[in-house]
Symmetry: C2
Subunit: 252 residues, 2 copies
């Protein structure tokens, strides 16, 4: 009846196997191979059906590694951002965005697994739950909130919002973890969604290659998109500094 027991031996073993699954899958992706149950299993020295003790089906394996890839990538974004002072969230955001883009361009397969993997609206949550916990989404929301605390950029009040959107920001399903945001301040989430949409847009466009490769290489499209979002986030006065920072990061 004790609330949380220390993990038993079996549980630790099981957890370790999950980790190994993710590790094997990541290696496969990194090597450019296809992600398949059989390949993952054989890399672990197992047979494919054994994996069914850990995932219900192939899609669940994909979701699992997508979640972990996102987590790992986010760690990278955090590191990139940590070059800048903790009380400078604007700089951190810029750095994180560039890191996000760099990751998407250097690991397009992983990126598309995490961010282009279609989410059916019908299929009763499970997968959506994972999406909701999206680590990267969470991190970007937090950064945006810090920026708001510092710069107090304007955001729509609840009654300016489309009623459906109002419901959505009051009871968010999205990677937000917004409990710490006052309901009256939830209009902020609208700004989050819009800026996330813009970032997601360019990066996906570039990562999937639906764009002149030279434009991707120059980074101009990404750069312009970010710059357009400085003012709405109250960073107009900071623009010169941040653009400089952006260019530095881009040319790294």
């Amino acid at each position: 009846m004790s609330a949380l027991q220390q993990p038993t031996r079996r549980e630790r073993q099981r957890e370790a196997t999950f980790d190994e699954i993710v590790r094997a899958a990541s290696e496969l992706l990194a090597e450019g191979a296809e992600l398949s149950l059989r390949a993952v299993a054989s890399r672990m020295g197992m047979t494919a059906p054994a994996l069914y003790r850990y995932v219900d089906n192939y899609q669940e394996l994909v979701d699992l590694v997508a979640f972990e890839l996102d987590k790992a990538a986010t760690q990278g974004f955090i590191e990139a951002a940590s070059k800048y002072r903790e009380d400078d969230p604007a700089a951190r955001l810029c750095a994180a965005c560039v890191a996000f883009r760099r990751w998407a361009l250097s690991k397009p397969r992983e990126f598309s697994l995490v961010f282009a993997n279609p989410i059916g609206s019908t299929e009763e949550s499970e997968r959506r739950e994972l999406l909701t916990l999206s680590t990267s989404g969470r991190y970007f929301t937090d950064l945006l909130y810090e920026i708001w605390e510092l710069y107090q950029f304007p955001y729509p009040s609840l009654d300016e919002l489309d009623p459906i959107v109002r419901d959505a920001v009051l009871d968010p399903l999205i990677p937000a973890k917004a409990e710490h945001i006052e309901p009256s301040e939830r209009g902020l989430l609208w700004i989050y969604m819009r800026s996330w949409s813009a970032l997601y847009g360019v990066v996906t466009l570039e990562s999937t290659g639906h764009c002149d490769p030279r434009v991707i290489q120059s980074g101009a499209l990404f750069r312009a998109t970010i710059i357009d979002w400085l003012a709405p986030l109250g960073l107009g006065a900071e623009a010169p500094r941040l653009i400089q920072l952006l260019d530095d990061e881009l040319s790294r």
Copy 2:
């Protein structure tokens, strides 16, 4: 030595088979089935290896049907736009954008085939050629050009552009077919890329479902993105009318 012969019987037959391939593939997708060589073949009353007389491999089949789906979808955009006067390209663009979104939401599988299908940068053109001919891209470029002719919105001069981007707009690889645009006016293509990136972004986000379903259903994200692009396209004065039009189209 005559320039273009009438197609011989064999050629007509072959062309008809290509059409049937595309038709069979489209039906499969529409029914929610997987697109596979075997399924397409058997639906045509053939065996899979026979298809290799028409495509080199599976990816080429995908590219083929992607191209044709894009073509068919574009026809839909044109029809949606044709509700408005020919000398009102702004209205037509709004209608086409809404039609584009509607298509992406109602046929996510087809959409992702056409627009989320990754294009490797290495693989020596073939596929990129088809992308370059992208029917929808061509249509949106044309609409944008008509809007510019009418409203003369500002665009960057060639020397304001990033040098790499300048090369790209002067010798476009992108779905543009920009021969009719004076080299000195090629800065227009930059506006095209940026607005296309914005449109592509929201629509992909919505179509793949990486977003709160309520926000998708409300259409607010899409609406806001379009509205943001009215002013840069010289449509600020037309905004009230176009927003009304947008809302009408969205609620259809």
